[in-house]
Amino acid sequence: MMQRNPAGRSDTLVQGLGLLTVAVLTLGIFMAFVYAPTDRDQGDAQRIFYIHVPMAWLAYLAMGVVLVGSVGYMWKRSERMDRLARSSAELGFLFTTLVLITGSLWGRPIWNTWWQWEARLTTTLVLWFIFIGYFMVRAYAGDRERGARYAAVLGIIGAIDVPIIHQSVKWWRTLHPEPIVLDTGGPNLPDSMLATLVVCFIGFTLLYAYLLVQKTRVEWARDMLAERELTALLSPATDATDRRVAGSVTHEVSGAAED
């Protein structure tokens, strides 16, 4: 079964997205380090906030996309949905790792400890384990189709479980300061800090979108390659045709992965 190369139709669009990402992120980082005022209590350590908070958002956004892809796969058995889910899972794992690291770095000077057993931290750590389980299920399943099904199971249960875990840890004990941005009385931050946060939010979300598009393309290319290798193995082809098939695949894959 052949599919159209998704790289072909939207090249300029993706490139535009990439450029926009670079522009907004550059602005965001400039604002975080130069424009935003230094925090009265926390000093410069507070600046990690502009990276930490968007990372946390992306970790959970990525899990949401995994849920969408998993449900889509369960429904339609479309490989596209599975590619979406597994691409988002890899990015989610990356951002979850980063949010844990940046959080620890921030917690050390402010709370005087690397870690607190608090609802949001604990949930993020559990999310990290769920992502690992997600990759292991795939790797251990034996074949691709089964791996996709099992991963969809974990994607669905995991994503729905995350808010439950959060709530149960919260009832268990809690220490994290309430979110200051979404406070009921409106944002509690000075305008310049809020503006910086918003720009960083947009920049990192664009980065996620860009990486997700590129990652699904790479996954697409990988699937195509596996499929063609299989066809080449099964068809009684001569060595020469084999080499030609392999050559054209490599060409297309590098085309899809590079831009």
């Binding site: 389980g133 089964r146 099904r149 199971v153 249960i157 995991g158 729905i160 149960s168 840890v169």
Partner: protein
């Protein structure tokens, strides 16, 4: 529903004739309870919380041991094909396995709780503890049955099962341990909200597992 019960009956019969894992589960739970004594000081001082935690660790590990086998055994013997060829849907197979797994865990608990009481003199024989034990077993068996099926046809299944199950079962662990601690501290009334919460978790986990089980079994 009659189909579900015949599946449960089949599992019980197999277990009764072969005595494969129920015995091992019970002994393992008891050994864990004894080992607790060396891990925490359960004789003096503040022992309600570690006692409750240890008790549930024992149930969790013993349950894992049994649940991990429940579908793996079917696959190894080739009876899973027979099961899927039965004129029942995946949901029915799930319910059958789920109910027999709940029964196995409850049997383990029924043996462990009196022993725990005798060894540590903590009030583990209260009706409220039994209730919490039951709702805990239901939720755990729900998720456990699903991931037992996932692990059964994977490589490294013994490792995969806890890796998938432990993170997802955290709400159940928190709920059961908190509730049991409160009961041990003589505040059974405060355990009711946790009971309600656990019941809600059970509904969510069992329903979800039931819905997605189809994805696991289909080959």
């Amino acid at each position: 529903m009659r189909k579900v019960w015949s599946l449960v009956w089949k599992d019980l019969l197999v277990e009764f004739r072969g005595r494969e894992f129920l015995g091992a589960m019970v002994v393992f739970a008891l050994i864990t309870i004894v080992t607790l004594n060396f891990a925490f000081d359960l004789i003096r001082g503040d022992r309600e919380a570690p006692g409750a935690g240890g008790l549930w660790i024992a149930f969790l590990f013993a349950g894992m041991l049994g649940l991990g086998r429940s579908l793996a055994v079917e696959r190894d013997r080739g009876t899973l094909e027979g099961l899927t060829l039965c004129p029942v849907d995946a949901g029915t197979i799930f319910l059958g396995k789920f109910i027999s797994n709940v029964l196995f865990i409850v049997i383990v608990q029924a043996v462990s709780l009196p022993v725990f009481y005798a060894l540590y003199n903590l009030p583990s024989l209260r009706p409220m503890v039994f209730l919490i034990a039951l709702v805990g077993a239901v939720g755990f068996a729900g998720l456990g049955t699903l991931f037992s099926a996932v692990a059964a046809s994977s490589r490294a299944r013994e490792i995969l099962m806890p890796l998938l199950l432990f993170p997802l079962a955290i709400p159940l662990v928190i709920g059961t341990v908190r509730a049991t601690t409160l009961i041990f501290q003589g505040e059974s009334g405060d355990a009711w909200p946790w009971f309600n919460l656990l019941a809600a978790f059970d509904v969510i986990f069992v329903t979800l597992s039931y819905v997605v089980f189809d994805l696991v079994l289909e080959e």
